[in-house]
């Protein structure tokens, strides 16, 4: 589904990703772990098409197409979804309007009929349950004044509404208490299908107790320094990252 080969990227004149290779197939859950500043969010943003990052080398193919050629909205329409580490507040645009606009764009791209506000409300009623949110959040502006936990749940709600093929969750667990974490994780698990894939970016092992990965990759200083199964996450939990960085001989 997604194939990243030797990807390098920079921002503000600084090289951040220094040759990433990664293959994600339908039905798989990948975890990307690593210390702060290692480039996890950069990788996620590059996949989503953030124009602030310059891809300086390598290729990314998504369903056989050159992903890097596509604008961010086209990627979303083709089924890529990024749950932001820092969801953006958009005062003045209601969640309901925003979600329906996105939903309809994606339906249009799939050749499906657009829905009107009434039909959309039915869709929402069902999806809100997944993240245990109530209808009144639909009238609020997108993320504006939301608590940290509400913002993260709103990301999962959007994911539920847009039902992506490839979801990248960037530290959706950070800053969540255990209840919120459970809600978010269960949300992700409910949305899992054999024909979609999930990339979970996380700093801590904690989330992986709920969302069990097939593969774990450790990112350090812009490179994947180790890949393994879910037991790698437990090892990292126990031993920290330092031994890996040393073993990999990774230096700036």
């Amino acid at each position: 589904m997604l194939k990243i080969e030797n990807l390098t990227a920079s921002a503000g004149g600084k090289q951040i990703l220094k040759g990433i290779s990664l293959a994600v197939n339908a039905g798989e859950v990948h975890a990307i772990m690593g210390p702060n500043g290692s480039g996890k969010s950069t990788l996620a943003q590059v996949i989503a098409g953030h124009p602030g990052y310059e891809v300086t080398g390598g290729t990314v193919t998504y369903e056989g197409q050159d992903l890097l050629e596509m604008d961010a909205e086209v990627r979303a329409q083709k089924g890529i979804f990024l749950a932001f580490q820092y969801p953006v507040e958009i005062p003045g645009v209601s969640n309901a309007y925003f979600l329906r606009a996105a939903y309809n764009e994606i339906r249009k791209a799939r050749g499906e009929e657009e829905v009107d506000p009434m039909e959309f409300l039915d869709v929402m009623t069902e999806k809100l349950k997944i993240v245990e949110m109530t209808e009144d959040m639909l009238q609020r502006s997108v993320n504006a004044g939301f608590s940290g936990g509400e913002k993260k749940r709103n990301e999962i709600l959007q994911m539920a509404v847009l039902s992506p093929k490839l979801a990248v969750l960037d530290e959706t667990d950070s800053g969540l208490d255990i209840d919120a974490l459970r809600i978010v994780a269960e949300g992700v698990n409910k949305l899992k299908r054999p024909d979609n894939a999930t990339v979970v970016v996380t700093h801590y092992q904690r989330l992986l107790n709920y969302i069990v990965p097939d593969y774990v990759h450790v990112l350090a200083q812009g490179r994947i320094v180790r890949s393994g199964g879910k037991e790698l996450a437990l090892e990292l939990e126990e031993r920290g990252y330092d031994w890996l960085l040393e073993a990999a001989g990774a230096t700036a």
Binding site: A72, G92, V93, A101, S141
Partner: protein
């Protein structure tokens, strides 16, 4: 012949021999004399630094001829926000139209009169109050006073709260072309009284005309007045408006200015806080396109102690339009514990658009909290990427964010149906119809 002596001639023709009560011609004569003395302001005048009124001064706008209109309720329905139960006073080309108006069943003892009625029914009220808040010192106020023909007088007696908003609708059509209109509003909210007033300026068909409006608003002790102004003049028109309020102890005055019309407009909103613990909120939105120019000047005079003032103005400037915001605050030596806050945010969309924003604080008391902030910017990149990452296209994203920028300030409108109607206007304007 200079611009102002032309107006002297027009004045002689219009007012000479008018059978009005003594005080009124006197007031008017003093006003035209004042206008002659000061003339139209120029950009050398500090208060008019960013706005040239040359396009007004070089034309001669004759006072509009008052004649009955052929417009019907259907024609004006689109300007009434779908509110059939509001009190409605309609002026077409400066003339009051009883057939289009409806303000029966006013709450107890409250008075809503046209100017001509007030001259008959409450001349002493008019004589005592008119021109006291907005003395004919500035050129345009002087011109209004000299030429005012009709307008509205509202008196809300002690402790009466008017539940139903009063909407004054000024409509022009092709008959107003090349003419000037000088509507006048006088509002007196007595001790503990409450009223909501909407003044809408709109046009049907196009024309180059001048609306020069003056409103005087007395907000008594403990009284509250919500005053909304919606300026949707024709794109060829000129609009100058001055609202001058005075506030008593514990009063609230909320003025909102929505301005999308006119080729050149200037809106002055002034309040003098004369009683302690009073609160004034001056908010507004201007959304301009092409070569439109809109200038807002606010002036809050903190005379009494412990008053608060809040100002939020936003502008959206497309094309080569020009927005001006000048927020003046004066804090008297006696006005301790003044709490003032002013913000002006402008969104530049057009490459040739421009804004001049100028806070102006004069503070003579020491125990005072006064802040101001201004931003001028383009659409937020983070928000744009966030929306696109959800599949929403670039154009639609820009439209939605522009709408959102404007809609945020409309949240300050407490009159729900008006808020919804203005949101609707902005929505239509900014969101491409095929993409809803």
């Amino acid at each position: 012949m200079t611009a102002h002596s032309k107006y002297r001639e027009l004045f002689e023709a219009a007012v000479h021999g008018a059978a009005a009560k003594d005080w009124l011609p006197k007031l008017k004569i003093a006003a035209i004399e004042q206008f002659e003395a000061v003339g139209f302001p120029t950009t050398r005048d500090e208060d008019w630094h960013f706005t040239s009124v040359t396009p007004i001064a070089e034309r001669t706008f004759r006072p509009v001829k008052l004649s009955a209109t052929t417009l019907t309720s259907n024609d004006i329905a689109r300007f009434t926000y779908g509110q059939d139960d509001w009190h409605l006073l309609v002026f077409v080309n400066g003339r009051y139209e009883p057939a289009l108006s409806n303000f029966a069943e006013l709450d107890a003892e409250a008075q809503v009169m046209t100017f001509s009625e007030a001259l008959k029914e409450a001349p002493e009220l008019l004589a005592e109050r008119l021109g006291t808040l907005a003395p004919a010192k500035q050129a345009f106020t002087a011109l209004n006073t000299a030429f005012m023909a009709d307008g509205v007088v509202i008196r809300v007696p002690k402790d009466i709260a008017l539940e139903t908003p009063i909407h004054i609708l000024y409509v022009t059509d092709a008959h107003a072309n090349n003419a000037s209109l000088h509507p006048r509003t006088l509002v007196i909210a007595e001790h503990g009284a409450q009223a909501t007033l909407i003044e809408t300026f709109a046009s049907i068909g196009s024309g180059t005309y001048l609306t020069n409006h003056v409103a005087e608003v007395v907000v008594g002790d403990n009284a509250r007045v919500d005053h909304y102004k919606v300026q949707r003049e024709d794109g060829n028109a000129f609009h100058v408006g001055t609202t001058q309020a005075t506030q008593g102890r514990d009063s609230i005055y909320h003025a909102f200015s929505f301005a999308t019309g006119a080729q050149l407009s200037r809106t002055n909103v002034y309040s003098r806080l004369l009683g302690s613990n009073a609160e004034v909120r001056l908010n507004g939105l201007y959304a301009l396109e092409e070569a439109q120019h809109a200038d807002h000047q606010t002036f809050v005079e903190h005379i009494a102690p412990a008053c608060s003032s809040r100002e939020v103005y936003k502008g959206i400037l497309d094309g080569t339009s020009h927005g001006v915001f000048n927020g003046k605050v004066y804090v008297d030596p006696q006005a301790q514990q003044t709490d003032g806050k002013q913000t002006n945010h402008t969104l530049l969309i057009g490459d040739g658009a421009r804004v001049d924003t100028k806070p102006q604080l004069e503070i003579f008391a020491d125990d005072v909290k006064c802040t101001h902030g201004a931003t001028v910017g383009r659409l937020d990149d983070m928000a744009q990427f966030y929306m696109k990452s959800r599949g929403i296209g670039a154009e639609r994203t820009r439209a939605l964010l522009t709408y959102a920028f404007a809609a945020e300030v409309l949240e300050l409108i407490e009159l729900e149906p008006l808020k919804v109607a203005l949101e609707g206007l902005l929505f239509e304007r900014f969101i491409p119809p095929d993409s809803v």
